[in-house]
């Protein structure tokens, strides 16, 4: 049985940020993740916006940790080589009621510590985002956009670099406190023993919490749909454009991605099945209709993909939960329990992780890890290099001369790097998030088979073992005779 000082349950952005922050100390750290990769749930299915922190209730963890995460993001983006642009963001209004709401948001935002907020007139709005429809807006200059895949993977890889171990495809099914005070953690594949347990299981957090013996939390789900638009329209949207928020929900917005695409969404559909990321026709129609009033450039010919994300909606004994819970209860020793890490959990992941780790450190008092290195490099991208650099890359490694993905100009060298990544995943999605192959307009039509081939060769997989995304998502049924 593998033994750890700390086991983190859940390898999303929050679990991975925790693993990385823990690795600043001399601890034996394991991460248990049920999927074959670290970003298949919330951390991969969001708006990818670095939020400014103005929309959350005054005095909450959410507000404070969001502002903290927003302001410090340049540093972690640099350390982990995460594509990130502080684009700014506008909430666009038209009516006097909208103006009142925006003034209220401005007031709350200032108290929360969000920096630089101002209400701008139509002229200024059109200067910032010429293609937008609206009369005035609240501008948040510190908001931005980031690559959520690279951020999650970057945190995870950095944690691994500093000594943490990821165990993928290990779904936690039971947790038992032993006589000696340690925990036995049962998974779908094997059991683990650990002194500490940290629950960062996202949509699975209530289940884990109950396994730990902490009851009283309930959770429903809200599914949000998105449409991804071609880079052809990316130039028309320099920053995220949101409608005036309601008290419960941000509204359907249009968001540029760091790669130059545009996403439209999300809506908010109540769901009970938290594992079904299916997309419905009427929701997509509604997205187009609603978002077009803000930004009238959403056309079918530019659709390249759609996806859905599920936000948990949380309840505790008092009713709807408004805040992130980060707790270390004395009655359930050596645990840190995270509940309610919904939006802005991507923005706040690092501050959330620091709080969680602090709770452990106060009690456990571990030594610092003097070898901790906060940096990680993402795979060198051929497409982003200048011709001179490209020539140099090929000279150093001829595999940079072989284009595998035509849409995004991803080379064999990059695909091989992704296959041999520190976490060790064997899925098409894993390649995709690491290299952007299969993300372009042809969605893998050209490169998927080449990548499947390389995966088989490099990992010695049988043709039937190549997975699309999750377990049991085999791509092929066998050989042709």
């Amino acid at each position: 049985m593998k033994k750890y000082d700390v086991l983190v349950i859940g390898g999303g952005v929050v679990g991975s940020a925790i693993a990385r922050e823990l690795s600043r100390y001399q601890l034996k750290i394991g991460v248990l993740e049920k999927n074959p990769d670290v970003c298949l749930e919330m951390s991969a299915r969001n708006s990818a916006v670095l939020h400014g922190g103005f929309a959350y209730e005054i005095g909450t963890n959410k507000a404070a940790l969001c502002v903290e995460g927003c302001m410090e993001f340049d540093e972690v983006a640099r350390e982990l080589d995460v594509p990130f642009i502080r684009t700014g963001k506008v909430l666009v209004g038209n009516t006097p009621e909208d103006m009142e709401s925006l003034k209220e948001t401005l007031r709350i935002g200032k108290i929360n510590g969000a920096v630089g907020l101002e209400i701008i007139d139509e002229k200024r709005l059109k200067e910032l985002v010429p293609a937008v429809e609206g009369s005035f807006a609240l501008l948040s200059p510190m908001s931005g956009i980031l690559d959520p895949f690279q951020y999650t993977i970057g945190l995870a890889e950095n944690a691994v670099k500093n000594g943490a171990r990821y165990h993928l495809m290990r779904e936690v099914t039971g947790i038992h406190r032993e006589e000696d005070g340690t925990y036995k953690v049962e998974t779908s594949k094997e059991d683990f023993r650990t002194k500490w347990v940290i629950n960062a299981a996202g949509l699975g957090a209530v289940k884990i919490s109950e396994m730990l013996g902490i009851t009283g939390y309930k959770m429903g789900g809200t599914r949000g749909h998105y449409i991804v638009l071609d880079k052809a329209v990316g130039d028309l949207l320099p920053m995220p454009v949101y409608p005036v928020p309601s008290t419960t929900y941000m509204g359907i917005h249009v968001t540029p991605t760091v790669e130059g695409n545009v996403t439209v969404g999300p809506d908010a559909d109540r769901v009970t099945d938290l594992a079904n990321y299916g997309v419905e026709q009427h929701n997509m129609d509604y997205l187009v209709e609603d978002a077009s009033t803000l930004w009238p450039h959403i056309h079918r010919k530019d659709f390249i993909r759609n996806y859905a994300g599920i936000q948990p909606t949380w309840l505790d004994r008092e009713g709807p939960m408004k805040d992130f819970v980060i707790e270390a209860r004395e009655d359930v020793p050596n645990t840190v329990n995270l509940i309610g890490i919904e939006s802005p959990g991507l923005t706040a992941a690092l501050p959330v992780a620091r709080r969680a780790v602090q709770l452990l450190v106060e009690r456990e008092k571990p030594e610092m890890n003097s070898n901790f290195d906060p940096t990680r490099k993402r795979i060198q991208r051929f497409a982003e290099a200048t011709p001179e650099e490209q020539a140099e890359l090929i000279r150093e490694n001829p595999d940079y001369g072989e284009i595998i993905c035509r849409c995004e100009s991803v080379t064999k060298a990059e695909v091989l790097d992704a296959i041999h990544n520190p976490l060790g995943v064997e899925t098409m999605i894993g390649m995709k998030y690491r290299t952007r192959s299969m993300m372009g307009r042809c969605q893998g039509g050209y490169c998927q088979m080449r990548i499947a081939q390389l995966l088989q060769e490099e990992k010695g997989l049988d043709v039937t073992q190549v997975l699309y995304a999750r377990e049991e998502s085999e791509l092929f049924s066998g050989r042709v005779r």
Binding site: V228, I394, R441, R479
Partner: protein, 412 residues
């Protein structure tokens, strides 16, 4: 970085690029280079192991590789230079071509460039089919390449969406390989592939074709478990209550091809919203001087024979350009009128002998396709039967083209 001069760089070594190279060589252009990203020449034909190619060009039924071989042999006989495993990644307006290969980053300054990059398939994302996103959804061309080039079977129980030719051919191929093809579902009231393929690929194998039907949902969180099929009305909207659930492990999409445009766009080549390929004149020159296009990169062809012949015609225009014999401004617009989806070229000069290529919008019988300039009828083609799947061509007599008034092509 080294920049090498070349008279003509041909981007893509499929049937269009090969035929253009041979024709150019025969017209005296020897300083030619074909750049191909695959290991071998031949383009998409390498994976088309069925027969039926060459009936028009060679009056023989060949397989795809056999058809390609004929042109490759001609290229080799003439010692025309080509490089493979080299992908063009950049093309500028002034015809600088940059390519990545294992040997290095290669750059040419060409006097003329021939675009012959072929096309790509429309994807699920473009269709926006609702439902989950499991493994087991393939476009027909990808499934074809897995089976024919990679010896890899994609599934056992298959539904095919769209009745494009590649889908029809894959229905047969999958059946021959032991898979069960539940049916081919087509949103239009008529098949979008060739009649010949409906006959030989579906009817001969007892595979049902369901017209006016589409997939409205994909089920399965990991691997495809089934699809919901809906009947559609005349506006192509699903009819409520007319859904069926079909269990399957694979969905193959054959829903259309789109010209490969990345490089064309870089070179500021104007595109046509109907063909989705470059706008050209009668010599196949695009809006960017010195850049020519033929084959599937220009418009999607049903038969490779027409691809080769188009590329051969293009050669003459390239030679004129190299001689500096810039034909007069191509100033006569050619418009697609009633009943015509698109017509090529979109523009001609009054001294050119244009071959008009076009498609009808819907199946029709006993029609005439008319080419008119002002009051004057330039040509008329009587047809007993016309199908959108089958390209129609009309060669115009330049003597008849007198004015620079727009030309219109329509169905009567």
């Amino acid at each position: 970085m080294n920049t090498e001069k070349k008279q003509v760089v041909i981007i893509g070594g499929g049937p269009a690029g090969l035929a253009a190279a041979v024709a150019l060589h025969d017209l005296g252009v020897k300083d030619l280079l074909i750049v191909e990203r695959e290991k071998h020449l031949g383009g998409i034909l390498r994976q088309c192991i069925h027969d039926g190619f060459g009936l028009t060009r060679f009056k023989e039924s060949l397989s795809g590789p056999e058809y390609a071989r004929r042109f490759i042999d001609e290229v080799e006989k003439r010692n025309i230079s080509y490089i493979t495993e080299t992908t063009v990644i950049e093309l500028t307006e002034d015809r600088i071509v940059r390519a990545a290969s294992k040997k290095g980053l290669l750059t040419w300054q060409a006097d003329a460039v021939v675009l012959s990059m072929g096309c790509r398939e429309r994807t699920r994302g473009a269709l926006q089919i609702p439902g989950e996103r499991p493994g087991g959804v393939y476009t027909a061309g990808v499934a074809q390449s897995y089976i024919n080039l990679y010896n890899t079977m994609v599934g056992k129980k298959v539904v095919i969406l769209g009745s494009g030719d590649i889908g029809l051919i894959m229905a047969r191929r999958l059946t021959l390989e032991g898979a069960k093809v539940e049916g081919v579902y087509e949103i239009l009231p008529y098949p979008s592939g060739l009649e010949r393929n409906v006959e030989q690929c579906l009817n001969d194998f007892g595979i049902p074709l369901h017209l006016s039907h589409t997939v409205t949902k994909i089920h399965g969180g990991r691997r495809v478990e089934g699809v919901t099929i809906s009947q559609v009305d005349q506006e192509r909207n699903p009819i409520p209550g007319k859904e069926t659930y079909i269990p399957c492990d694979t969905l193959v999409l054959s829903v259309g091809l789109i010209p490969e445009n990345e490089l064309s766009k870089m070179a500021k080549v104007e595109l046509d919203s109907r063909t989705n390929g470059p706008r050209v004149d009668a010599s196949y020159q695009t809006s960017t001087p010195g850049i020519f296009a033929a084959g599937n990169v220009l418009h999607v062809h049903d038969l490779v024979d027409y691809v080769s012949m188009e590329a051969e015609r293009l050669a003459k225009g390239v030679v004129d350009h190299l001689k500096g014999a810039t034909s007069k401004e191509s100033c006569i617009p050619v418009l697609a009128g009633e009943g015509i989806t698109y017509v090529l070229p979109q523009q001609i000069g009054d001294d050119q002998e244009p071959l008009l290529s076009m498609r009808v919008q819907r199946p029709a019988e006993n029609i005439a396709v008319v080419v008119r300039q002002g009051e004057k009828e330039l040509a008329r083609l009587e047809l007993e039967e016309a199908l959108p799947a089958e390209m129609i061509q009309i060669l115009l007599d330049p003597e008849k083209i007198k004015s620079d008034q727009p030309m219109e092509v329509y169905v009567r």
